[in-house]
Amino acid sequence: MRKRIRYSEDDGKESINVSPLIDVVFILLIFFIVSATFVSLPGVEISRPRTETAESLERNSILFALSGQDEIFHAGKKVKLREVPGLIEKASKDRAKPVVIQVDQWADATIMAKLVAKAGKNNTSVSIATRKPK
């Protein structure tokens, strides 16, 4: 009789110790917060040229788009060519981030050349987004 009562009392108090779980989850959370860098998409549909030597680009980069109508987009807004270095400086804050330019294949090549030159002014690495061949 006495034994049974004690057993039931133990069952009631018994619970899984969640402190190590919380520790681990917090560490993961902090890791992902620190490593998270929100990429702002340019916000226009781009028809990328197909290239053979396309390689995977840095994920954490500043994106620009050059549309088929020769307009430059960044973070959903149309920007002017002379604003590009300032935007890169603002977006990279303290650590230098690479720049990826999404170029429409029907855009004017001179605008692209100027954009690449402007973006690469401060030794920033500039890449052109393409598609892999079929």
């Binding site: 040229p49 995977s56 090549a109």
Partner: protein, 132 residues
């Protein structure tokens, strides 16, 4: 004497951590999903910005007039001949390619020229816009 039961319950009381864990898990999943969202493939010209004077006497340059052709020193060249041409030049000196683009040339073509040059072993590809 009266307080004894209340003090005993005070000792046993614990903070309920379940809502905290719920919230932290939601944040964790959000950050896992939010990272690595954009995955682009593309070309890197990996040139270090050099002085403009050195690009003028670049060993190999291609021109893109507005007509949609590709020329090398004035003579028209097929797109698939670019890679062998660059490969020959790469054997002699350091291959740094200059692509001169005229207004009216398509960016897709310029990108393909750069692609072919990189395929031929070019170290750096630079675009130079020509005035109208």
């Amino acid at each position: 004497m009266k307080r004894k039961p209340s003090s005993s319950t005070g000792e046993e009381a614990e903070i309920n951590v379940s809502p905290l864990i719920d919230m932290v898990f939601i944040l964790l999943i959000f950050f896992i999903v939010a990272t690595s969202f954009v995955n682009e493939v593309g070309l890197s010209s990996n040139h270090k910005d050099t002085a403009n004077s050195s690009t003028e006497n670049s060993p190999l340059s291609f021109e893109l007039p507005g007509s949609g052709q590709v020329t090398s020193n004035g003579t028209p060249i097929e797109l698939r001949q670019i890679a062998p041409t660059v490969r020959i030049a790469a054997a002699k000196s350091k291959p740094s390619i200059l692509v001169k683009v005229s207004p009216g040339a398509r960016a897709g073509l310029a990108t393909q020229v750069m692609d072919q040059a990189l395929l031929g072993g070019a170290k750096a590809v630079k675009f130079a816009p020509l005035p109208r």
